[in-house]
Amino acid sequence: MAEIMYWEAIQRAHDEEMARDPLVICMGEDIGVAGGTYKATKGLYEKYGPLRVIDTPISENSYTGLGIGASFLGVRPIIELMSVNFAWLAMDQMFNSAAKVRYMSGGQLTAPCVFRSAGGAAHQLGAQHSARMEKVFMGIAGLRVVTPSNPKQAYGLLKSAIRCDDPVYINEHELMYNMKGDVPDTEYFHPLEGSEVTRSGTDVTLFGYNISVHWNLKAAEILDKQYGISAEVVDLYSLSPLDREGIRKSVSKTHRAVVVGEEEAPVGVCSEVISVINEECFFELDAAPVRVNSALVPQPYNHGLEKAAIPNAEDVVAAVLKLFGKA
């Protein structure tokens, strides 16, 4: 085990897979000579050259389509959308081509590509650079959606996504690229499906994914130390498909659920998780499940307003206390 950063984990997965298979390529804006906005492709251009590490023009929809077309012939492109906000422009190709081609062709054609992008609010990047869009991707049939909360997942999910024959969208977070964590020294493939119990508990389950797992861990600590409430933290690293069984199991144990996401509430990951809880284990519940989300506003630039718009560990604690009638 070595402790490396999230971006290094992603870079390592690229490097290993590109070294193994000459049909693995990567493409995106500023990923080659410049090494990638978040360094996720650092050094690859020097090593694999311009035919396999492609600096694209700022033509998100068309370069994404180009990568998808190449994948029809068995090329395995890792397509970086610099920021999830720019993925809006590529959604036509992602949804209409990659996600549907297998189905439309009766299984004749597949699009084994990986889409990666950084999402979430970082620091004061404003309304057009702070979107959370995982809710949009996870609603599309034919697309897998995963979202790593730590370097090990960032490495292992990308490795598996490249090997998988389905198109996979990987949702990273702008604030997490420099996060450190242990990654196995030997090759490791993280499951694309499932969920992980990050901290075990008995009184309430805190569901989260990506950055909200970290808020939940902090909240669980506070709940334990200050209120004697034992919270279980579940990491939903696969958003599509959701781990219905994992969700059921945890709720059947704790009988209470708080679902936490950085997204705005409506039509979201959290509302979907609550629907799954209702469908899978309604009669196990001791209280109505609740969610903790960002305010429904375009992300404000001002620092104070931005902070107020995004949830944090304290908000999670408050939601749990309310659930227990302690607030």
Binding site: D30, A34, E60, Q128, L296, Y301, N302, L305
Partner: protein, 333 residues
């Protein structure tokens, strides 16, 4: 250009340069957050074009490198700086930030962060002008790399097809972030790209404001006289990195030096000195005066302005509810 205009514009360009350099400092001091894209090196582009147009009357739209365009249209530098500080007195009430300066009262229709996004918006503004029958024009300032977006071609086609009163100004600074134009784009000279739409186009030196002005006059006259859109390419260079986290490893210091020899402010200054319209001492005094203005008025205003109230987080998301009640409730009288 007339002599008094040249003298005035020289001072304006110095204000623009100093404003941007002061932003750099404020960013280091963490007074400004987010992404910050600065304009030094390209001043003659915005200034030359807008001298040929009618700032505050013609509509202007641009990308994220937008402070100077806003100021040139008439936005108060104090309010622009306050916006960068995230203050309630800022041009977007602290909600927008550097990439989203707006001053609609001055017909500065905003800065947008998505590359290529403003193309169709500019054409739409021109459509609005066409429908209302005014003699304003729409001016869209964007970079070179933006032309690789689908919106570029889709918009050029519609603008030509509908003969819209819109001037597209391409500030070709040879890079899109760290990718040199010849590595992203099949043709370096961007004006060639609109010939497929039979659109009038020209290219000129973007460092010499008088050349920009002359070319822009032709372009603006064409558009204002109802002959349809025009595409003007200006060859220029940005001195600083793309935004603040850019170490400029993709280009050489020699190349940067070469461009600095053709500094838009110094070209105009030296010409005015040669014409005996001013002395070096006059220029230096003016620079000092500008610095004092930026420090004592612009920065002071931004520093002393209040933050937005957290209780007003949701203000501006939708129209004032009261004003919309007839439709919200379906009880329109």
């Amino acid at each position: 250009m007339k002599l008094e205009d040249k003298k005035r514009v020289l001072r304006e360009m110095v204000v623009h340069r100093r404003f941007e350099e002061r932003c750099y400092q404020a960013y280091i001091e963490r007074k400004i957050g987010g992404f910050l894209h600065l304009y030094p090196g390209q001043e003659a582009c915005c200034n030359g074009v807008m001298e040929a147009a009618r700032p505050g009357y013609d509509y202007v739209i641009t990308g994220y490198r937008d402070h100077v365009h806003a100021i040139k249209c008439g936005a108060d530098p104090k309010e622009v700086m306050a916006e960068l500080y995230g203050k309630e007195t800022g041009s977007s009430k602290g909600r927008g930030g550097s990439m989203h300066i707006f001053d609609v009262s001055k017909r500065f229709m905003g800065g947008y962060a998505l590359v290529g996004g403003p193309f169709p918006l500019a054409a739409g503004i021109a459509k609005g002008i066409q429908m209302k029958g005014g003699d304003e024009i729409a001016i869209c300032f964007l970079g070179d790399a933006a032309n690789n977006q689908g919106t570029f071609h889709e918009t050029m086609n519609m603008a030509a097809l509908y003969k819209l009163p819109v001037l597209f100004v391409c500030e070709n600074n040879l890079y899109g972030i760290g990718t040199a134009i010849e590595r992203s784009t099949a043709v370096v000279h961007q004006h060639k790209r609109v010939c497929g739409y039979d659109m009038e186009a020209a290219e000129t030196d973007g460092q010499d404001i008088e050349k920009v002005y002359e070319a822009a006059k032709v372009a603006v006259n064409h558009v204002r006289s109802g002959k349809g859109p025009y595409f003007l390419e200006l060859l220029t260079y940005r001195y600083r990195g793309h935004s603040m986290s850019d170490s400029r490893g993709y280009r050489s210091r020699e190349e940067e030096e070469m461009w600095k020899q053709r500094d838009p402010i110094y070209i105009l200054r030296d010409r005015l000195i040669a014409e005996k319209a001013m002395t070096m001492a006059d220029y230096e005094a003016m620079e000092k005066e500008v610095d004092a203005y930026i420090e004592n008025e612009v920065i002071k205003f931004a520093e002393e302005s209040p933050e937005p109230k957290v209780e007003e987080l949701e203000k501006y998301v939708l129209a004032d509810r009261e004003s919309q009640l007839p439709w919200i409730t379906g009880k329109a009288a």
